[in-house]
Every structure is written in C-alpha cells, then in structure tokens.
C-alpha cells in the first residue's frame, strides 16, 4: 500500500510544476515581441513506478505526481539553417538592387536632360553651323553644346565613381561589423558550452547565438553548423571564421586601401586566424558579397562601357573634325580631349575659340559647311550609348525581380519559423489559465488531504 501522506507529495509536485508553467507563460508573454526570442515550453512527465523500487519489494502506488522537466526552446535547427541561407541571398540582392537603382536614377534616360538629349542637341548644332558656317553665334553655340555633351558624360562617370567610393567605405564598415559579430558569437559559444556543462538554463544564450549567426549570414552569406557543446561554427565561403570560442579576423586583402581608396585590384577577402591567413573564394552572398561584386564587376563594367562610348564619340568627332578646315582655312584641331585611362571622367572640349571649329570641307577659308554637315550625322556612338543604357536597365530590372521573388521565399521561411517559435498571446493566456486552475486544484487536494488526516488523527475514536 502507498503511504498515507503520498497524496500530499503528489499535490506538492503539481504545485511546483504549475508554478513553473505559469512562469514560462509569463516569460513568453513578456518576450512576445522580443527579436530572436523562441517561445519556451515546460515538459511535465508523470511520476510512475520506479523501474527497480528496492530489493525484494514492489511498488503498489498509482503514480507519484508530475516531474518538472527541462524548459524546451521551440526551434528547428533545419529551419534556422534555411533561414540563414535565405537571409544571406536576400541581403545580397537587396544591397545590389539598392545601389543599382541609385546609379540608374543618375542616368536620366529617357528624358530631356540625359546624355542622349545632349548628343541630339550637339548634332543639330552641327547642322545649324552647316547652314551658317560664318556665323559666330552658330560656332559658339556648337562649342557650348559640345561642352554640354562632355559635361553630361562626365556627370555620369562621376556618379558611378562616387558610388564606387561610397561602397568601398561601406565594405570597410561591414568587415568591421563582421568581426564584431564573429567575436560576440565566439564569446556566446563559450558561454553556451559552460552553461551546458554546469546545467544552467541556456535558452537566452541560444537565442543570442542564433541571432548573431543570422546576422553573420546576412552580412556574408556564411554557413553555420551546430557543435556538440551547443555552440555554432561559422564558415564564410568554406573558410572557418568562428570555431567554438575562437573567432578569426575577417579582412580586406585587395581592392580597397586602408584609407578607403581604390588600389585597382579586384576585391579580395581573407580570414586570419592566428598566424595563418586563408583567402576567401569569390562569389560570397550577403551584403559583403553584394558590395564585392558591385565593386569588382558591375560598377566597373558600366564605367568601362561609358568610357568606351566616350572614346568612340570623341575619336569619331575628332577624326571628322580634323578632315575639315576652320574659318582661317587651316585643318581642324581635335575638338574633344580626354585621358585614355578614364575617358568618360576626363572628357573636355579642347577648343575655346569659335573660329577654330572646322565647319568647312574645303581648305582656303571659304564659308563651306560640308564638314559640319558630316559631323551632324548620327554616328556609332549613339548606338553604343543606347546599348549601354539598355544593358544596365535590363540588369537593374532583373535584380529587382530576383529580389522580389527571393523576398517571397524569405518571407515564407520566416513565416515557418515564426509559426514554430513565435509567441501566441491567446495560447499563453490559455496555458496560464490552465496552470492557474491546476494550481488551485492541487491546493484543493492538499486541503482535502488535510481534512482527511484531521478526521483520521483527531477524530478517530471520538464518540462525541
């Protein structure tokens, strides 16, 4: 037979368990909107017969109450890994789309103020000059329009160069953020391992660990794997950045100088841990990957296209201009000048004297306009520019589409995580009420037992 007082003990376990359940519900409610908080649940297990009560004895009770198990974090490591991957891809596309949109808005096509409009005006300036080869007004107007074309092209080149410079600073800032987050994660890993060893509740540390790993993935598209001691190991492009309690130093090894300048090399990154430095392969995701790609490929490609177009334009105009004769009858000098290293950024009008514009096709100073007429013909440069704008527009549109569709995927994964880990206030209210009622009932059990024992002890054998 079970002991008379065992029911009191059963009620006591119930009181303890339900108090913990109420604590957990209260904590969940308190953290309902905390970023990175995964809801907790306390596991109760019924206490039954011991597997081996004692030598030569048997257990004949009905159960000994409830054992308060560990509080469980409602997370799924598979979903977490998935979320890290999708967030890495999302931040890559978002950064890329944001920067490209900004560069695109500086192009100003199709419109009345872009390079194409300036080129059309330039052409019609040549026609006006052909109509009036001796007119000072037509000559000055032509030079002014040539300056407008050069200015519009320089303006775009400056926009791209400024964006590149901004992105180099941004890359430096991001690399230092990666290092901060990585060392925080390493410290958290150490704390998690200690907490696991001495059996302390590690939920908050694990929340922090997951959040730091997610931020690292957003920054670099890194991959995290769970260690046996509860920490997370992080690799960036296959190179270990965080291993247990040790974090390597993420650093820029090429493409950006220490002062944020351009050293002419493609962007390269490395992780230094101890004495060894391992190069990170190209093709990273995340914000760092996006900026590295922009700096190495996308922005230089547009700048080069713009320079090639500026060169074609200047060379074609200069060649035709040289075939003509100015108002004094001498052969035309180059109209545009540029530095071959950066044609678009340095394109300027070399002539200042309107009389030096070579409108005439015949030597000797006649008022002929045939060379101006030839200069007013649409050249190959116009097509080059249209192709350049078209290619850039296509790239921006495609990145925006990719970013939007990746957004749906990311949202879906975040939704799935929230579905598992998020706090539902109604649910918590219900479990709190449940625990409250159970607590009340357990208290009632105690008072019932009390009165039973009172009857047994104080009233047994009393006749009156």
């Amino acid at each position: 037979m079970a002991g008379t007082l065992s029911s009191l003990n059963t009620a006591l376990t119930a009181l303890r368990f339900n108090r913990v359940a109420m604590d957990v519900a209260a904590n969940n409610i308190a953290n309902a909107t905390t970023e990175g908080y995964a809801r907790r649940r306390v596991e109760g297990t019924a206490i039954g017969a011991p597997a081996q009560p004692a030598m030569w004895s048997r257990y004949d009770g009905v159960g000994g109450g409830v054992a308060t198990g560990a509080t469980e974090r409602m997370v799924d490591s598979f979903l977490d890994a998935r979320a890290r991957r999708e967030h890495g891809a999302q931040s890559y596309l978002d950064v890329r789309a944001g920067v490209l949109r900004r560069v695109e808005s500086g192009i100003g096509e199709p419109g009345d103020n872009g390079v194409a409009a300036a080129m059309a005006e330039f052409r019609s300036g040549w026609h006006d000059l052909a109509n009036d080869p001796g007119g000072d007004a037509a000559r000055s107007q032509l030079l002014a329009r040539a300056e407008t074309v050069a200015g519009a092209i320089r303006n775009q080149a400056t926009n791209v160069a400024t964006e590149q410079s901004d992105q180099r600073y941004r890359l430096q800032a991001m690399v230092s953020e990666v290092n901060t987050v990585a060392s925080e994660l390493a410290a958290t890993n150490a704390n998690v391992a200690v907490a696991k060893l001495n059996g302390t509740e590690a939920g908050t540390l694990l929340d922090q660990r997951d959040q730091l790993a997610l931020r690292l993935s957003e920054l670099t598209g890194s991959v995290a794997t769970v260690r046996a001691d509860g920490g997370l190991d992080v690799t960036v492009g296959g190179v270990a950045l965080v291993t247990g309690k040790d974090a390597g130093a993420f650093q820029i090894t090429g493409g950006v100088t220490a002062s944020g300048g351009d050293d002419g090399l493609p962007v390269s990154l490395a992780v230094a841990s101890g004495a060894t430095t391992t190069m990170v392969p190209t093709g990273l995701r995340g914000e760092v990957g996006a900026v590295a790609d922009l700096l190495t490929t996308t922005l230089p490609a547009y700048a080069d296209g713009l320079s090639a177009f500026a060169r074609t334009l200047a060379d074609a105009v200069n060649a035709q201009h040289g075939a003509g004769y100015d108002i004094a009858g001498t052969a035309g000098q180059p109209l545009f000048s540029y530095d071959p290293a950066d044609a678009a950024g340095t394109l300027t009008v070399a002539l200042t004297d309107p009389d030096l514009v070579a409108a005439s096709g015949v030597p000797g100073g006649g008022l002929d306009g045939s060379n101006a007429d030839l200069l007013g013909v649409t050249g190959a440069a116009d097509g080059d520019y249209q192709r350049l704008v078209n290619a850039f527009g296509t790239e921006v549109a495609s990145v925006q589409r990719l970013s939007a569709s990746q957004g749906l995927l990311t949202q879906q994964v975040d939704g799935a995580r929230e579905q598992l880990s998020g706090v539902n206030l109604d649910e918590e209210t219900v479990s709190m009420l449940q625990a409250q009622r159970a607590y009340e009932a357990a208290s009632r059990v105690i008072s019932v037992m009390d009165s039973v024992l009172d009857t047994l002890i104080n009233r047994t054998g009393l006749l009156r």
Binding site: T33, H127, A130, L367, Q386, G415, G422
Partner: protein, 296 residues
Amino acid sequence: MTTMRVTQNMLTDRSVSSLQLGLSRLATVQEQISTGRVLNRPSDSPTQTTAAMRIRSSIADQTQYVRNAEDGIGWLGTVDQTLAGMSDQVRRARELGLQGASSGTTSQTAREALATEVEQIRDGLLAAGNTTYLGRPIFGGVTPGATAFAASGAYVGVPGEVNRTIADGVKVRVDVAGTDVVGPDGASLFDDLDALVVSLRTGDTTGIRAGLGALEGRLEDLGSVRATAGARYSRIEQAAQRGRDAVLDLTTSLSEVENTDLPRAMVDLKMQEVAYQAALASTARVMQPSLLDFLR
C-alpha cells in the same frame, strides 16, 4: 488535421508587409500619373527605353531637317526672285538694243541715251548678281567676301556648293553658281552688255545685232537656271512638309511608348486605393480582438 499556428507577430508582420505592398503599388501608379510617363527609368522597361531613345533621337534629327529645309527655302526664294528680276532687266536691255538696231539712222544723241540706259541696266544686273541672303552673296559660292562679282563684272566668288541636308543623307543645293547665271569671265553677260554699249555708241549695227543674239542666249540661260532652282525649291518644300509630318508621327509614337495611358492609370489608381483601404480596414479588425477581451 494540422492547423497552422498563427501568432500575433505573424499577423503584425504580414499586415505591415501587405500594407507596404499596397502602398508601394499605389506609389507606382501615382508616379505614373503625376509624371505622365510610364518610363521613368531604364529598368521600367529596357527595350522600350531603347525605343524611346531612338525615337527621341529621330525627332531631334527630323526637327533639324525641317529647320535646314526652311533655311534652304529662304535661299532658293531669294535666288528665284533675283533671277526673275535679272531676266526682266536683260529683256529690257534687249529691247533697247532692238531700238538701237532698228533705228540705226537715229541721231548720235538718241543712241547715246540708249547706251547710257544699257549701262544702267548693267549696273542693276551687277547689283542683282551681288544680292545677299543673311549676309552671304547668293551667287558667290562659298566665298567669305560680301560680293560675287567685282565692279568690272569679273567673278570674285569662290566656287563651291551651298547645300542643305533635308533628310538623312539627302542634300539639296540652295545656291546657284555665279558663272552659271552670267557665264564665264570674258564671255559673261556683263561683257555682252559692255560690247552692246560700245556698239550703240559707235552705231555699229552688226555689233548691235550680235549683241542682241547674245542677250537672247542669256535669257534662255537665265530661264533654265531659274527652272532648275524652282525644281529644287519645290523639292525642298516637299521635304520640309515631310519632315513636319514625320515629327508629328514620331511624337505620337514616343507618346505611345513613354506616356501614361491616363484612363487606365486612373482605374488602376482607384483599384489600388480600394485594395489599400481594404487592407487597412481588415488589419484594424484583425489586430483588435484578444482572448483577454472575453475573460473576466
């Protein structure tokens, strides 16, 4: 059956993101209406952007061709009027020559009067030959100077064509070479008139008759030059009209490519507005209730 677990945070996130989506759609339509354009940046439609850039370039070219043609019309108009005036004067000189020839016996005084008038006609023709349009002598070719003929009647222009581009690769000559109008130096209209004056003064009837024949030939030359110029005039006029039509057509095409279809955009705007309001209303209703409202 498993029901999906929904949390307050999910509701909040979803509401916020769908409100954002609705608002951004509203902003897109609003941008299209307020700017009047569907192409505001290349990525709105890269292909259409290229088309728009090409059309804009063509519009600029065609507008310029029309301007060129209008300038050419001015030139050729002046050429035509000048040639007409010159023909009249040559005809008058011929009449005077005829008078001199038929009245070969008339007095020296009368012939002197005829000669003086022919001299005046020669000066008039010289002035006509130096007619300018916008400061340039119309028969002077590409001369930078102000005259095509010297006082002696010698051609001082610089041979060369004054052309106007009236369409892509199509040029029309808008001047007439001075030597085509009056003939080459040494055998020009002015030389003929000089000879006629001398013949009139001396009463050389054979000389006068030869001069009359030469003037007859000059009239024919002037007529044919004028006919050529007239043909060019009508050609350039047609080209100007074609250019104006092309500008109109191209502007319409550009508008089709670039501009917002307003009625459609307004309907879109209304739809997006309704959708946004519905999202707002449903969000307000979903966010309100809680189990706590129903517990004592």
